[in-house]
Symmetry: C2
Subunit: 563 residues, 2 copies
């Protein structure tokens, strides 16, 4: 970056502000260049045993301790602030750091517990990180744009700056959660990697030669380093699921209308063909449930006009639990679809292996697994591509223009025509028709599952790559199709790329030129160590069911493959 350009001055000041908000006694040496895995023992080396114990407990485990008074909110908060600060030094995963306010909040929670002998809510004392789209009192939101520094969403004269809070933030506070940092995003949010002119590039904590993914890449990297037990990202085409998969964590993309987006910043706000959605990310599946169930308990439909009045459905939860219990007892009542590839681009060997591992587990459990042959995902991907460029780049050019900053590499800034109302209407009809075809296909599987019902869930890759080589994330279809359908999807971590077993395939039967090209980019050495997961998905609004299945499946996968 050239320090003489105008936009670089506020960018540098902001960057330095973030860094200086992290206590300097947590400063750590720069990792040696051969130290590409910063997780596990590496980051642990800067922490006390107690800090390690606290920060490597999942969100459910933490709330068990904080809600019973075994751990104080102050201790938990302190441990996560420290680990988050170190994580930021390692991978640039933070945009906002407000540890002092967090400790202050933790003190209040501890005082409450001391006085009343009970937690303030089910997330009492749980640190929750947030993607830098959510507004928190006293804290800025830049969303990766230099032009937003010192403003409210780009407007320097808007009194809401550092004053208002997003609906989700209000809900989290009311549940007793501790907010302490906001995580980095790519400018525009429309990227599968996380980079901007303020904090630079977010590498993958498991292999720093690879990407942390995006757009919830700061969030995913922070959680991967256990600088946060859980947090919230957003997803319009894979922005929760893809970085979750690439960081070995769990992430839920709920259908639009379940988790509140009210009062959060966004890209291309008001585009309503495919909605961006808010969802939880965490180190365990049960932690996703904790957060999702928690925010629903706040009745967000009374405060956000786009949220549907769908409380957590305990009846669905119990029904699934019954089926799962009976399945574990050897009487499978569940059936799954499996799609090893989308017919457009095959997954690289690590992602392919993750799929086969999951298939093996499902079969070991006695579940019927059928091949998933849906209406072409090409249609869904085209619909999404048209949607995302609907305004011809108008919003993005405006935001970049505020400061004059250039786009970072791999952010494509369109200079196209705006779509007209009639074109958008035709696109909406096309999307609805595709959704209907997919729905009919889903229903049709009732004939082949043997359960009398259609499949209970479908497994497919999260993408072609294990965490990608920067600049090489060139087929986003595996997550995007689900956004066009508005289906519920969960990223489930499975394994890591391993150069010893994930060797390039020979004599491949390529699907097409794009497949040939993308397969040729597989490099066993380069991808080694990159996490890889799978995607579990269900119909629209199937969050309860998918969360229960994710908990079940991840536990069973671990049984089969835990090293």
């Amino acid at each position: 970056m050239n320090p003489n350009t105008t936009w670089e001055i506020p960018a540098r000041a902001k960057r330095e502000g973030i860094n200086s908000a992290i206590p300097s006694n947590w400063t750590i040496p720069n990792p040696a260049s051969e130290q590409t895995d910063l997780t596990g023992d590496y980051i642990r080396s800067f922490l006390t045993d107690r800090e390690i114990e606290v920060t490597e407990t999942d969100a459910v485990g933490i709330t068990e301790k904080t809600c019973s008074g075994e751990w104080t909110a102050v201790e938990v908060t302190g441990a996560f602030c420290k680990r988050a600060g170190i994580a930021h030094r390692l991978v640039n995963c933070l945009h906002e750091v407000f540890f002092d306010a967090a400790v202050e909040d933790a003190r209040r929670l501890d005082a409450y517990f001391a006085q009343y002998g009970k937690p303030i809510g089910p997330l009492h004392g749980l640190p929750v990180s947030l993607k830098d789209q959510f507004h928190v009192k006293g804290v800025e939101t830049t969303m990766g744009y230099v032009g937003w520094i010192g403003t409210f969403e780009g407007n320097p004269n808007d009194a809401r700056r550092c004053v208002v809070e997003s609906q989700l933030v209000r809900e989290l506070r009311s549940l007793g959660a501790i907010l302490y940092c906001k995580t980095s995003v790519p400018m525009t949010l429309m990227s599968g990697e996380t980079a901007n002119n303020i904090i630079g590039y977010v590498p993958n904590p498991k292999n720093t030669n690879l990407s942390a993914g995006g757009s919830s890449g700061g969030e995913a990297a922070l959680i991967a380093l256990r600088g946060s037990p859980c947090g919230f990202g957003t997803d319009i085409g894979g922005s929760i699921r893809s970085p979750a998969g690439w960081n070995g964590i769990f992430g839920l993309r709920p259908s639009a209308g379940r988790v509140s987006y009210q009062g959060a910043a966004n890209s291309m706000d008001g585009q309503n063909t495919i909605l961006s959605v808010v969802g939880p990310m965490a180190t365990t599946a049960r932690s996703l449930t904790l957060l999702f169930k928690g925010v629903l308990s706040q009745e967000p439909w009374l405060h956000d006009p786009l949220v549907v009045e769908l409380p957590w459905r305990s009846d669905v939860e119990s029904e699934l639990q019954g089926m799962i219990e009976r399945s574990r007892g050897g009487r499978s009542e569940l059936a799954f679809g499996i799609m090893h590839h989308d017919g457009l681009v095959r997954p690289h060997p690590p992602a392919d292996r993750a799929m086969r591992m999951v298939e093996q587990t499902l079969k070991r459990l006695g579940h019927k697994v059928i091949e998933w042959n849906p209406p072409s995902h090409r249609t869904a991907i085209d619909i999404a591509a048209e949607t995302f460029s609907m305004d011809g780049g108008h919003d993005v050019r405006h935001q970049l223009g505020l400061s004059g900053e250039p786009p970072v590499p791999n952010i494509l800034v369109k200079k196209g025509e705006q779509m007209t109302a009639s074109e958008i209407a035709a696109l909406n009809v096309k999307k609805r028709e595709y959704q209907k075809q997919y729905m009919d296909y889903w229903n049709s599987t009732a004939a082949s599952t043997g359960t009398g019902r259609p499949v209970d869930g479908v497994i497919c890759p999260l993408g072609v790559q294990a965490a990608t080589i920067p600049g090489k994330y060139n087929h986003v279809g595996y997550t995007t199709f689900l956004s066009a359908l508005d289906y519920t999807g969960i990223a489930i971590p499975v394994t890591c790329a391993d150069k010893r077993v994930d060797v390039p395939r020979v004599d491949m039967d390529f699907l097409n030129d794009a497949d040939r090209e993308i397969q040729s980019q597989y490099d066993a050495e380069a991808y080694d160590g990159g996490p890889v997961g799978v995607q579990l998905f269900g119909r629209r609004f199937q969050e309860e069911k998918m969360l229960m299945l994710a908990e079940y499946m991840s536990a069973e996968i671990e049984k089969d493959f835990k090293e």
Copy 2:
């Protein structure tokens, strides 16, 4: 109409086809010009006592008889076909007549009952009429466009013509309903009156100098004449509620995403800022519940990607019933908002009187009634107006151009610019912000109801006029604001304009020039006899609650004011 123009040839043929599908032995003399009320004794004079008994039973009453075997489906169907045929001769309320198929279906239902001793479903043998947007096997859909005659939605080569059925139609058949006719609509659907170049103008059955309303005007007029016990219309800005009010019947505008629109024709399909919704219309409130609950039991969310998985919520029903029982016992637990006018245009004396009647009943019941002072409805009306002209008239011009037919009077065909993606996005944001303000206002009433909750429902006029003088329906705001909010609204019939009591007000404090102008159009003589209702509304997705309240309120209003 000039019979020499090309478009008039198919229009006339279609018109004659409709008329000739009605058995000629039901032909009736043209009413004398002074016979402006065609309901009640007038239409009864063409029917047998038994036919009158059957057709003046409401949908719930009918299904009680048909489901117990007391009445046969054939008899019920026959009676309604006859009365519908006569109704059409009187007010042009039908677009499609398929009585023979209906009787055939009724025979099958009777055979089923004879064989199994039970009904095929909860709507066994119930005739249900449909606005001419729904596709029924063997029957055309013209939606008021000459250019759609002989085509599928304007496409002459689409094999779906007369073959496919809309999802709603499949649901109704599965419930045991009898489909027998489709009802007239204004071309474009974007009109508060019902007229097109095929069947002409639909006058109001209670006063033929007035309008039946629109766009579900044929449906409302048919039900008002008891040619149908119940049916389904659609509503994007008042098209169910306004004609329901003007015809002394009930009509429900559910929130978008509850009743399936899948596979139905529409205007400006794909516009998704304010969605048109499907809802029931009927002679009693409990019949709305029967239909609404019935179609939900078919799990439309498994067949329509835009339907939300919200089954009928019996818990809400029971809770409300408990409150209503206790209220009837003298312990009111309910509170209502009341908005006598929207601050833009006051209702004419008949509509104003209807509001005061309802207020009197609510107060007699001991309910807290608070003045409703929401965020300006002007904003909502502007948002709706922008939305409805988003495509600059593109769709409507295309449909009219198929045949070259001219627009009928009072249909404004825009020749404007198309809105761009960015403009539409800004409009969507504006709408969401308005919805949020309204929601916050709603919540704020918890402080003044005395129940600890916000108001349970709000009452406001359905419009300025009792059923309007043709061409004078010039303030649609009373229904449109609710569409912009996507709230649940129900038209409840209250009374009829009465020249003896509804005298023009003197010394009026006009709100503005529009109000002055519209008030000056009130003519006690001309409006005499025109039905007038009120609108009960609740938040988004409050159909269960609003239906229960509508049943309760209408019964109590009847107690107070039954002549």
